[in-house]
Every structure is written in C-alpha cells, then in structure tokens.
C-alpha cells in the first residue's frame, strides 16, 4: 500500500467515476445527440446512396445488404471513439487545465484510483454510446434480438481496451495538440482498414496480417459475429480473448505512464 508503489487500487476509484458521471448528467442531452444522429446518417448514406453501387455483400456465406454489413462496424467504431476520446482529450483537459486530478489526490485517493476511475468511466461512455447506436440501428431492423444484447458487455470490454490505450497516450503526450498524432496514425487507419467498410479478406496478405494486430478489427469481428447470431463462435471467442489480453497489457501501461506524468 505504499503510496508511490503501484498496487493502490481499492473501490475508491468509484468516487472518481462518480465525479465524471455527475458532470456528464449536466450535459447528457448534448452528449446523446451524436450517437443518435450518426448511425442515421450512415444508414442514409450507405443504405440509400450506396445501394446501387454495392447491392449486396457476402459474409460467412450469408448474403446481406451493405448496410447490414456495416451496422456492427458502426457500433464497434462508436465504442472505440467514445472511450478513446474520453481518456485522451477529455482526461487531458481534466488533468492539465482543470487540475482535477491534483484536487483528488489531496483527498485519500491514489493516482492509480484516479486513472482507473477515468478508464472505467471511458468504458462507461462506450457502453452508453453503444446502447444508443444499437437502439437506433435496431429500429432499422439491423440487429437480431435477443442476441444483440451481447453488444453491451462487449462495449464495456472494448471500451475498457480503448480507454486504456487512450490513457496511455495521455500519459505520454506533452501537449493537447499532439493527440492528432495517435488519432491520425492509429484511430483513422483503424476506422478505414479494420474490416469496417469492407472485409479484410479483400486486402493484400501483408495488410491482412497488419489489420489483425489492430484492436478495432477484433472488436468489429466480435460485433459482426453477434450480429450474425453466432455469439459463441470461434471467431467471437478469439476476438474476445484478444481484447482481454489487449486490456491486460495497456491498462498497466496506462497506470505507469500516468503515474510518471503526475507524480513529480
């Protein structure tokens, strides 16, 4: 329990989570608009505008419309974005401009609890966004129920993974403008090449291997398997394991980089 050691995590991290939740409630109406509108825009663009270009897609031997193909990917992207942007830009503002973490650490809260609270909060954001996106897409009949319920725990897992890596970047980056770098080099390529808008099978082999390293590929796979009703398939389980391992690597790294950054 040494303050400067690394295993200082008790349920006190929930008070940090709670702080974010209370602030979120101030502005939840605004926060709900993007996840509500975004899927509608995508469905409109790809369902209506794109229909003539790509009439149908094959996946796992199933014939489906293009919107059906991208619907689970849209959920996956929303999971990625909400937690990643929460623990990068939003956490950076709290840490650097508002000095919220300094205030917390004058109370009996450890730096590890602060960071854990932030990451779990990021995962919570993913859960809420995924729930809204899922609800909207379900209105278009794009998700099978009750299997689609599995999206929610997946959102927590995927959200945790992306929140952890986002937090790690926050621990490393000198100023807020430089978040452009991980967004440009990490988030945008994933958004495009993780089997979101086209199956990775269509990529050259080296690029397929590369895509398999990226966490979004696995999150998309997992969501798509759920969407196809095969929750306990090998593909889904492997993807789940990947995300657990990814979190197990990046969560401690996030704790480390943030501790180094905050404790001087």
């Amino acid at each position: 329990m040494n303050i400067f050691g690394s295993n200082n995590i008790t349920t006190r991290f929930l008070s940090v989570w709670c702080r974010n939740w209370i602030v979120y409630l101030r502005t939840w109406k605004i926060n709900f608009i993007p996840p509500l509108l975004e899927p509608i825009l995508y469905v409109a663009a790809f369902g209506v505008g794109f229909r003539l270009l790509v009439p149908s897609v094959q996946f796992h031997g199933q014939e489906m419309s293009y919107v059906q193909f991208i619907a689970p990917a849209l959920v996956a992207v929303s999971i990625m974005n909400s937690s990643f942007f929460e623990t990068t830009y939003a956490s950076f503002v709290r840490m650097y401009y508002q000095k919220t973490f300094d205030a917390m650490m004058s109370a009996p809260v450890s730096v590890q609890e602060v960071i854990t609270g932030e990451i779990v909060w990021g995962a919570t954001r993913s859960l809420m966004t995924a729930a809204v996106t899922l609800a909207v897409l379900s209105c278009f009949g794009l998700f099978p129920w009750p299997e689609a319920f599995w999206i929610l725990p997946v959102a927590v897992l995927g959200g945790f993974a992306f929140a952890a890596i986002g937090m790690m970047f926050t621990g490393l980056i000198p100023n807020i403008e430089l978040f452009n770098l991980p967004v440009f080099l990490f988030i945008t390529p994933m958004f495009l090449f993780s089997g979101t808008f086209f199956s990775i099978d269509t990529l050259p082999e080296w690029a397929q291997w590369f895509a398999l390293i990226l966490p979004l590929t696995h999150l998309v796979n997992l969501c798509r398997e759920i969407c196809c009703g095969s929750v306990l398939s090998i593909g889904a389980i492997t993807a789940g394991i990947y995300l657990v391992v990814f979190s197990a690597i990046f969560y401690p790294l996030a704790l480390r980089t943030m501790r180094k950054r905050l404790i001087k």
Partner: protein, 306 residues
C-alpha cells in the same frame, strides 16, 4: 503525537533533475499552532507541502505526520488533513455545492453528512448566496474561499494552506484571517504559506523563512523582528552622502535600497531619529516600527527571483 508534534520533518530534500527545490530542511509543527512557511518565489514552499501530504515522493529525509509514515499510512493522513492548493483546481462544470459534494465522495463521506458540512462551511466562508453558481462565474477571491471551504470538508485536524489569501481583496482577506483564527480555537493545526508579511505576523505562532530550499531563520514573528531588524526603522530618501557618512561613523545597521536609505534602530537608539531628522533630512525622513517585511527583505535580499 503525545509529545505534541503533528508534523515532524527531518533533513527533507527534493531534487528535480539538476535543481534542488528543497535542500535539507527540518522543522516541527506542534498541535494547535499556526505555523508559517515564508520564502521568495521558487524557494520550495509548495514542493515541501506536496511532500507533506504524500503527493511528491521525497528524495531523502524523514517525514512524519500525526506520527504516521506518509508512504504507508498516506490514506489515514490524508483523511485527517485538508489541503488548500496554490492553484485553483475547482471543477468548472459543477456548481459550488456540487463541488463540495463531489469532493466529499473522495473521502467516502456519507451524502447526508456531506450536505450538512457543505451548508455549514459555505456559511462559514461567506458563500451561501452563491451555492448554485459555477466557479467560472465566481470572482478569484470567491474561488479561493471555496477552495478553503473544500479543504475543511473532512473535518481535518490539520489544514495545509498554500497561499490561501493570494488574490483576495482586503475584506475577504480579513474574513479568511478571522476564520483561520476561529479554526485554531477549535484545536486545528494550521500550516500556511504566504507572501503577505502582515498576514504571517498576525496569524503565525511560529514561522520559518526559507530560501533556495534552506531554512534561513525560524521563530516567533515578533521575536524575529527584534532579532534581525530591531525596534524601529528610519527611512530616508533620497540617499544623502552626509547621512551615509554619519550612519557609518556611528556604526549603525543600515541598508541602501534603490534611492532609499534604511537605518535599523535598536530600542536604546531612542533619540536617533530626532538627531537625524534635524541634521540631515528635515522633510524626507520617516520613523516607523520594524516589521516582518524588513526581516524578510534583509534575509532574502532585495533582488527579484527568476
């Protein structure tokens, strides 16, 4: 604890890369007293405070608060301590009341108790009219007062105040002084830093002046004035050659600061002012009581700190 020391600091050092921010300081703070840390900008006050509540690890030395070890018993220490930071770190998205409630959660305080303490403290610090305002709508002084109220939320035995009155108008400053006095009466121990010598002289039972991370003097404010400056100060400006010569010839303690000559008088030098003002500087000469500010400037020099 039994021997009455709330804080015991021995040879405390803090090194950042190649700057030594705190260079081996030792002091004790007794239960129930108001203890001051003074020093120019960059002297190491905030760094010392950060080590005291276990925010920064010390480079070397030993430190005990409530006779507990900060490294292992930090949670117990922070539960019994209130910290008022030098920087404003209020939550700009939350109202004054919510700021207090959220902070209470970090102490795992039951919500009902948090609500009661909040009511009480906002009244205590004169912010009960602004409960529903958000920090950006408050003036700088109100924010400082809110930070002070927040530091008292957990009913601390020890409060650490890093420049609690910087940026306050005279009214608020007097209010804060009164409140600190009241807290002392309830038995709370106070450690505070300030750049206002009047404040330190008025509030502190004992204080240290530190410079470049080292303690340069320690004691009770009045006693420090007596020891380092004397009784009274004669200020004369502009500096006249004859007066300088006179002062030197009489072997008086003096200092030249810009275009002013300061002559430090002991209690036995009663007629000195009369003599000087008649012979050397009839109109531009003043006699005043020596203050802590004289001590501070004499000991830390008059040049600016980078």
């Amino acid at each position: 604890m039994k021997n009455g020391s709330i804080i015991k600091v021995q040879d405390l050092r803090k090194v950042y890369g190649d700057t030594t921010a705190v260079d081996g300081i030792s002091f004790k703070v007794n239960r129930g007293e108001i203890f001051g840390i003074l020093g120019p900008n960059g002297a190491g006050k905030t760094t010392t405070i950060r080590m005291l509540y276990g925010f920064s690890p010390m480079t070397s030395g030993s430190l005990r608060v409530f006779d507990l070890d900060i490294e292992t018993d930090w949670r117990a220490i922070r539960t019994r301590t209130g910290v008022c930071h030098q920087d404003n770190n209020l939550d700009p998205d939350l109202t004054v009341r919510e700021n207090m409630h959220v902070f209470a959660r970090y102490f795992a305080m039951p919500q009902k108790m948090a609500a009661e303490r909040t009511e009480h403290l906002l009244k205590f610090i004169g912010l009960e009219q602004r409960k529903e305002s958000k920090p950006p709508e408050l003036s700088g002084g109100m924010m400082r007062r809110l930070i002070l109220a927040r530091a008292l939320l957990n009913n601390p035995e020890l409060i650490i105040l890093d420049e609690p009155t910087t940026g306050l108008d005279p009214q608020s400053r007097h209010l804060v002084w009164e409140r600190i006095g009241e807290l002392k009466k309830t038995g709370i121990t106070v450690l505070l830093t300030t750049h206002y010598m009047e404040e330190a002289a008025r509030l502190c039972d004992r204080l240290i002046i530190i410079d470049y991370g080292r303690i340069i003097t320690e004691g009770n404010p009045a006693e420090l004035v007596k020891r380092h400056v004397g009784h009274e100060v004669i200020e004369s400006s502009p500096v006249s050659e004859e007066l300088c010569a006179f002062v030197k010839q009489r072997g008086l303690e003096y200092e030249v600061s810009g275009d002013r000559l300061l002559i430090y008088c002991r209690e036995e030098d009663e007629d000195l002012f009369h003599e000087i003002s008649h012979q050397y500087c009839r109109d531009n000469c003043a006699l005043r009581t020596a203050t802590l500010e004289d001590v501070f400037l004499r000991l830390t020099g008059r040049q600016l700190r980078e």
